[in-house]
Amino acid sequence: MTQISQSTFSAGLLDADFPAPPGLTNAAGEHSPRRYAVYRNNVFMSLRDALGEAFPAVKKLIGETNFNNVASDFLRSNPPSSPLMMYYGAGFPEYLENVPQLSHIGYLPDIARLEQAMRHAYHAEDVTPADPSALSHMSEAALLATKFVFAPSVHIIKSPWPILSLYNFTMLPNQPKPQRRAEDILITRPEFDPQPHALPDEGAVLVESLIKGMTFGQAIEQAGETLQLELALSLLLTSGAVTQFITNEET
């Protein structure tokens, strides 16, 4: 009697060329690869659909047929490593970088990174944003010595491409045609819907430095002279990105 281990059963689930294991039959006891193929098809389609749901802008940009081909190749070598399908596709942006047929769409991996970050932000822990008025009574010295604590939903995406303009142009109606420029994105989640914001010049360095635990003054220095400080600070304070200001006295 053929015994089928789960290694044997699963070996052909992601590979259509792999023969169906022996010992799997129909009611009459006849070997039936077609029946095994139902599982293979379920696995394949469910993972492909999960990637399509996770990366709708990538799918729209390259079209359903191309997306399905790329997703199928990806999932064969990258099945999920956890049952939390909401996070599936961690390696997909990097994978896209190495698909020769897509190399002419240089911004595609960054669009995938943006979608992935939005998805993580969607499921991030709930927090209450800090009240920006806490900063208004501070002396300049105290402000520069302040550290910022960020919401778990905050993500930064840096790109040499206009990825937010491209993303909006792809996903929303009546958007202007993207102009060729670099765009860095700050993702926040004020309540339940993640919001991507374009960061002003050197704003990404400022926020990344703050996230690393630098004081506001140190982060400004890190960002350099071309930093559009007022724009960056106003975005941080109005977007719900910050959950706490730690003043010098508290540290």
């Binding site: 039936s32 049952p83 969607y122």
Partner: protein
């Protein structure tokens, strides 16, 4: 031990989809309880958990796992178990259920309910895993019968006996998916009524109904596929009536997971579920 008097009410329930949140709050119709897939609520926060919390204040909730891989040869994933514990402790649902199936092997998660042979060895493993889950959650769980597309030559147990023995040894209850019974019986050429006759119906804490697709195998034999993407088929409703005649009314879930329709379509299925439950009630009285 499983206790029929605890758990979900013997009313129609529906598999909750976020796009129906407002409809369910505004026009619940026959909805007596809701079922959610555990894994969709294992994020850290945000809208999914907020909606679930709001719904749990109005309806009994059934948490239905699709990723625990209870039928695994190997051990259950400790990280996944602790996520499940966190969800169940937070939500305190009316019921927790999982499948007689596996989905994880060598750290790959296949996102499908894969079949296992029914042998003494797999029986012992399933019992061990069910007990582990029940010890962790400090409550009995329900175990669902699969939809089968094929037979393992090595199986030595009938599915109904296998499930009864798992329940006897572990103290779990059972989730009877009547659509799965119909699918398996058609695919493996036996009478679905005889399956119900042999099934330990006194242990049923919940019933599932969903839609299936029709195909054929390479020999031209019918091959039904559990798709949860359409209305419950008429012969499945007939089998449901037969089952209720044997065991009386039980919590009855409508599952619709792919190509999810507008609320009105689901609501009509729930009306049909309510009618089936009413009929079962009258037969008992």
């Amino acid at each position: 031990m499983f206790d029929l008097e605890r758990g979900l009410p013997a009313k129609p329930g529906v598999g909750y989809k976020p796009q129906h949140f407002t409809d369910i709050i505004d026009a619940p119709g026959q909805v007596g309880w809701l079922e959610v897939h555990a894994e969709n609520y294992m994020g850290l926060g945000g809208r999914p958990l907020a909606q679930l919390h709001a719904l749990s204040e109005r309806f009994p909730i059934s948490v239905h796992g699709v990723g625990l891989s209870i039928g695994s040869e190997g051990r259950l994933d400790p990280e996944h178990l602790s996520r499940l514990k966190k969800l169940v402790d937070w939500l305190e649902p009316a019921s927790f259920s999982e499948h007689l199936a596996w989905s994880t092997h060598d750290s790959a998660f296949f996102n499908d309910l894969l079949p296992l042979p029914y042998t003494d060895g797999t029986l012992a493993k399933v019992v061990e895993h069910v007990q582990q889950v029940q010890d962790l959650l400090k409550r009995p769980m329900l175990l669902e019968n699969p939809s089968s597309y094929l037979k393992f030559e090595e199986s030595t147990w009938q599915e109904t006996d296998f499930l009864a023995e798992v329940a006897k040894r572990s103290g779990c209850g059972l989730l009877l998916d009547v659509n799965n019974v119909f699918i398996s019986a058609t695919n493996l050429d036996y009478s679905p009524q005889s399956y119900i006759d042999a099934y330990p119906t006194d242990l049923v804490g919940e019933v599932h109904l969903g839609g299936h697709d029709e195909d054929k195998d390479e020999f031209g034999a019918p091959l039904l596929i559990d798709s949860h993407g359409r209305e419950v088929a008429d012969p499945v409703w007939t089998l449901m009536d037969y089952t209720f005649e044997q065991m009386g009314p039980r919590p009855l879930l409508i599952e619709w997971d792919t190509d999810v329709p507008e609320w009105s379509v689901l609501s009509a299925e729930l009306d049909r579920a309510a009618t089936a439950l009413d009929k079962a009630q009258k037969v008992r009285v």
